[in-house]
Amino acid sequence: MMSLLLRDLKLSVRAGGGALIGVLFFMTVVAVIPFGVGPDLNLLSRIGPAIVWIGALLAALLGLDRLFQTERDDGSLDLILMQEHPLVLTVLVKCVAHWVANSLPLVVASPLLGLFMNMSEVAIGAVAVTLLVGTPALTFIGAVGAAVAVSLPRGGLLVSILVLPLAIPVLIFGVSASYAAVEDPAPFMPPFLILLAITMFFAVLGPLGAALALRNASD
């Protein structure tokens, strides 16, 4: 399993792997907001956490369709399905690799983009922490969509639309936890813990659903 993790990480940084595409998209989306909204610093810092979260959500969904599609295109998926290790575990490892290669860079880039949005240090920290906790849920949810759409050519947009309803709660609790950190009366912990719970819930359910879909997608 370790070898699968290493191989997926290697693939994502080699040419055509697409690990950087997500970060670039994230930066593009967030960087143009100040130009569109105008130089109203108070407004920017007020909408900052939400914009950074939305940008990260879209960027995280961007590369998800490739999760199993590349494996299917070159026939590797057949061999993965035939092995005796539980498919759920294989899917989980692929999700972890995908998260490390595609979503972790988003978390790392978010403080820089927070500066673009004139966010305070506390807000920047809160967004980074909520992204760190919330983005794995997006990957696990997306894995189900990617597995369902694996045999469809150009399933990319379909995957995003399929998983978007399930990704909305992650966005809601991520953003509300980020706001709670800066706005005094609202407590930070409840939405943050719910976010954590969502991630753990989908860490179990996502790979199960994806494995089931992959088993039935063979043609």
Partner: protein, 214 residues
């Protein structure tokens, strides 16, 4: 060790592509599938590998001591696609599959470098897989069968894109596999240069295949 199939039938679209296929292969035995394009050779192989659900019937693998298990776990499957990543070097590809496959009970695989040597491409394992020619890629995909041990080899058109010498190399490797008690299932148009194989001639659903060909 026995690979048995009983009353297999599989569907392609509305109709049954084949039905009632049964065989029983023991150590050192091979079965060659022949037939026209679209006659169901690849489908049968995928059913045996567990990649397609059979409409009826079952494939089981029996080994001494243990109960029957899913046949796919005892098989190497070499399909039309090579299952190698163009971005990774040959060594990384083979190394990954070696550790991901692990060895089936009763044998061990050889190292990636040795396997490349056995298919006659020893010196180029550092190159990205995508740089190789179609024939070289096929040979490296074949080397994948050597890096980990599986008693059953399922080969779908293994010699497509290969020159005569590579075909002979493959035939040698297959003979060696059978000699060690392995089992072979192959679909092919070219004679593989193997003697004493059983042959299963597939006909497909009569008439419909002809329509597709026209």
């Amino acid at each position: 060790m026995r690979l048995t199939a009983e009353g297999l039938a599989a569907r392609r679209g509305e109709d049954l592509l084949f039905s009632d296929i049964s065989f029983d292969l023991g150590a050192g035995e091979g079965l060659i599938l022949t037939g026209r394009n679209g006659s169901g050779k690849s489908t049968l192989l995928r059913v045996i590998a567990g990649l397609l659900r059979a409409e009826r019937g079952a494939v089981t693998w029996h080994s001494s001591g243990d109960g029957p298990i899913r046949a796919g776990e005892a098989c190497h499957y070499l399909g039309h696609r090579n299952a190698m990543k163009a971005e990774l070097s040959v060594e990384e590809n083979l190394g990954f599959w070696k550790s991901f496959f692990g060895d089936f009970k009763g044998g061990t695989g050889i190292s990636a470098a040795e396997a490349a040597d056995r298919v006659g491409l020893g010196g180029i394992t550092h190159l990205p897989f995508g740089y190789l020619s179609a024939g070289q890629q096929r040979r490296m995909a074949f080397a994948k069968l050597l890096v980990s041990y599986r008693p059953v080899w399922i080969l779908d058109e293994p010699t497509a894109a290969l020159d005569a010498r590579a075909e002979a190399t493959f035939a040698d490797l297959i003979r060696e596999h059978l000699g060690r008690g392995g089992i072979l299932l192959a679909a092919t148009h070219q004679p593989l240069g193997l003697e004493g194989m059983r042959e299963l001639r597939m006909t497909g659903f009569a008439g419909v295949a002809g329509e597709f060909g026209a």
